[in-house]
Amino acid sequence: MRLTLHVWRQASASKPGRMERYDAPDVNEDMSFLEMLDVLNEKLIAEHKEPIAFEHDCREGICGSCGFMINGMAHGPQRGTTVCQLHMRHFKDGDVLYLEPWRATAFPVLKDLVVDRGAFDRIVASGGYVSVRTGSAPDGNAIPVPKESADRAMDAAACIACGACVAACPNASAALFTGAKISHLSHLPQGQAERSRRALRMVRQLSIEEFGSCTNIGECEAACPKSIRLEVIATMNRDHLKASFATRGESQSAAGE
């Protein structure tokens, strides 16, 4: 099949960008979307042009490196699929595709389709963990975890931090990402001791990073390649509210620490 691509080209963070048009003449339906771009890039290099920069690593839908908008949809039209796992059999001859990077103040564009998602690491650093010194853990079976809780924790922990939720949200909110981590740890007995601190600090970091606030639109859930459910945001809000009440009276910053 033959496709026409319009791709966002931007040399670096400080330079302006624009859409450019490319022809992809021999697209095989068994190719992945990124393989289609590889072939296009090989052609560009042969013509002594700069290939399109896009991020990728595992190409198995698990590392969260890849991701861009295809015709306004994060990771493209197939539900529950990262762009590296999206195959060309879902497109047809003559299709015109617009490829753009994630757009959010918190995710500045570095080059072409590559953005800086460092804010996600800082959110995790602010509290998305259980503090346990190496070697000091009790036996793995010492604390039974009901299968139901373990399953729900795993559902939330499946997040790959690709950023599609932020890109899909009209407010550029990172509530789904943050809620997923809070929810994962809140469902487990191991996550209880730091539960309040975690919610307070992670939510505070969200606003420091200039993500927008969540107004329950739900686009994030639809765009998430791992089908993380909106209920993780409810868990985050509940944990945050409870923690805020519990620490009322103490100074805000002390509560945050």
Binding site: K49, L110, A125, H184
Partner: protein, 637 residues
């Protein structure tokens, strides 16, 4: 070059305890005065950086991805082994030790493997405490599954995303240390050289992958945890960015490279579909618990699998290996698949595939049970091939997956360069000539959480280190070399892309140094790799400049190193005139076509010393001794 493996003596059961007691300790107040560089943030590097930060060292950790959480470890699916014996099925530390030594075809160090089996139990405890959501039974206890090469159920898992969950555990611990200020995480940065001052590793040279800036970092010790080199084959199950640059640069600076030809072919991957193919996708080995592998009895049988009656199918693993059946180790399963395809009985369009069939399990356990166990893998298969494995058997074929070889390290995980330690898949590891499934995650975390925190301290406390910073002339010299190489790559302006060279290299190595090897082919491959390397430096086309993000330039540097390592792999395979584990020399096999080891002449680890450009590398041998598990021909019949 001297190989001193520092293997303890005395009873193996207490060896690690004794070694730990004999190690010197760094005074807690002094730890923050030591600067440590950790290159790599996968299971090995991430767990090491987190644990060292927690102890109070001043750590800088590097990765080339945009976040430490994206290291290749994230892709591990199946699980992690530990000798917990929670299933009460006869497992023990000794049995895990025994299985690993035997599975590695008697080419690993017994004392290292025993330590690995011992700490395996601590790893599970640590990860559970971090909140890793391992699979549970209804009663709330941890669940287990079986993996190849073992007759007990000792594999812990988190659906089909075990690597992801373990890595997120390590990553979260790492980020907690970043928050506390003890670890500085430097992402999108690639190590391009190692700096040695007065014979000791004292720093690295890096390139910022966003700005192109070449930078230097000094330290009291350098830890490499940069993963395996499977991408030398171009098509592999590794992430696209996985590379050998860090270990290869260190090799050229004096670190011995051990057993480079010991590479693992995984039996269950999705077969290649076309020229444009950029990587291969693994279907977890755990599928072999419930899937049955078969091909038609008749060569050239093109009927659809459902139309082939039971009597005309050959469940060749069950037939040849009745006691392990579909769960034989990877090397055995891979070779058996190649054998049936060579006979013309392979399936699919290319004839390079065998069936992995779930029909019987679905009938016995119900679709729901299979969905619970493998749902995400089935989905992934469907997404890639467009076929539904619930109704049509999967087609699978072996693919390169893991590298047992790597930088030589002693029992303390230190390389032949003092002050440089190597962890995880990057070292020549504890897996001998073949790694058992679910043991790489175990080894990475063992090295990072439980070994390096002791052995690094021992090195620092027992070594007198002069003050060194990046103004030392050795840093400037290394930077000049790096700059020179980058500008050479950019200035060739030839006609072939990085990918085209990489693909050709991969094909040479796969054809001659893959599942089956022989002297003639290996000799030919060495010549072809040399020619290709020569052409690479004359005819490569890297667009753009070195002053900003340039993914082609990154790739070019990595392929340049693969072109050198590929030759060493062939040399290593050529000198080892025996078959063992993943190294199968056609000249050396039993009448039944099984690997034929030669313990009298080849019971050693081959450690190669770099001798300079265009000079033949020098082979050193570390003899292996077996006091506990006696070498015998592996039998899985």
């Amino acid at each position: 070059m001297q190989l001193d493996s520092k293997i303890p003596t005395g009873p193996i059961e207490q060896a690690w305890e004794r070694a730990k007691f004999d190690m010197k300790l760094v005074n807690p107040a002094n730890k923050r005065k030591f600067n440590i560089i950790v290159v790599g943030s996968g299971l090995a590097g991430g767990s090491a950086a987190a644990s060292l930060g927690e102890l109070g060292y001043n750590v800088k950790c590097f990765c080339f991805q945009d976040s430490p959480r994206r290291a290749h470890s994230i892709a591990a699916q199946g699980g992690i082994n530990a000798a917990k014996n929670y299933q009460n099925d006869g497992d023990s530390i000794y049995r895990l030790f025994y299985d690993t030594v035997k599975g590695g075809d008697f080419r690993a160090r017994e004392y290292n493997v025993y330590r690995l089996a011992q700490v395996s139990v601590n790893i599970i405890d640590q990860c559970v405490a971090q909140g890793v959501p391992f699979a549970r039974e209804y009663g709330g206890a941890l669940a287990n599954r079986s993996f190849g090469g073992a007759q007990v159920s000792r594999t812990f898992y988190a659906r089909g995303q075990t690597g992801q969950q373990l890595l997120l555990g390590a990553y979260q611990a790492l980020e907690a240390q970043v928050d506390s200020g003890r670890v500085k995480m430097i992402t999108r940065t690639e190590m391009l050289d190692l700096v040695i001052v007065n014979g000791r590793a004292r720093g690295i040279v890096t390139r910022d992958l966003v700005t192109g800036k070449i930078e230097t970092h000094a330290a009291d010790a350098v830890v490499l945890a940069t993963g395996g080199y499977g991408n030398v084959f171009y098509l592999s199950t590794n992430a696209k960015g996985s590379n050998c640059t860090a270990i290869w640069r260190a090799h050229k600076r004096g670190a011995a490279f051990a057993n480079p030809c010991f590479t693992q072919i995984h039996p269950t991957c999705i077969p290649v579909s076309g020229e444009y193919q950029s990587k291969l996708t693994l279907m977890s080995e755990s599928l072999r618990n419930d899937g049955r592998i078969w091909v038609p009895k008749q060569a050239g049988d093109k009927r659809s699998p459902r139309d082939i009656p039971e009597a005309e199918r050959d469940y060749y693993l069950e037939r040849r290996y009745p006691s392990f059946g579909n769960l034989v180790p990877r090397d055995v399963a891979s070779r058996a698949a190649k054998a049936v395809c060579d006979e013309g009985r392979g399936v699919g369009e290319t004839g390079l595939g065998v069936y992995l069939d779930f029909a019987e399990s679905i009938q016995r356990l119900g679709r729901h049970a299979i969905e619970e166990r493998y749902g995400n893998l089935f989905e992934m298969y469907n997404r890639i091939t467009g076929e539904d494995p619930y109704t049509v058997p999967m087609r699978i074929y072996p693919a390169i997956h893991y590298t047992m070889g790597g930088l030589w390290v002693d029992y303390q995980l230190m390389s032949t360069i003092p002050g440089m330690f190597v962890l995880g898949e990057a070292n020549f590891s504890d897996h001998g000539a073949n790694r058992l499934g679910a043991s790489a995650l175990m080894q990475g975390l063992s090295d990072g959480y439980f070994v390096i925190p002791y052995t690094l301290g021992n090195y620092l406390a027992s070594t007198k280190l002069e003050k060194v910073d990046t103004s030392a002339p050795e840093f400037a010299a290394a930077v000049a070399e790096v700059n020179d190489r980058v500008s050479r790559l950019l200035s060739i302006k030839g006609n072939r892309t990085v990918a085209s060279f990489h693909r050709e290299l991969g094909k040479i190595i796969w054809d001659y140094c893959g599942m089956a090897r022989n002297a003639e082919g290996l000799t030919k491959a060495i010549g072809r790799v040399q020619e290709l390397r020569e052409e690479f430096w004359k005819n490569l086309n890297v667009p753009g400049s070195g002053e900003d993000m340039n993914q082609q330039l990154e790739g070019a540097g990595r392929v340049a190193d693969f072109l050198e390592l590929g030759e060493l792999m062939c040399r290593d395979a050529l000198q080892r005139k025996e078959s063992c584990g993943g190294h199968f020399r056609e000249e050396y096999q039993t009448e039944e076509g099984e690997a034929l080891r030669d313990d009298e002449n080849y019971q050693y680890a081959a450690a190669w010393e770099y001798a300079g450009e265009n000079a033949e590398p020098i082979l050193h041998k570390e003899p292996l001794e077996f006091h506990y598990v006696h070498p015998a021909q592996r039998s899985y019949k």
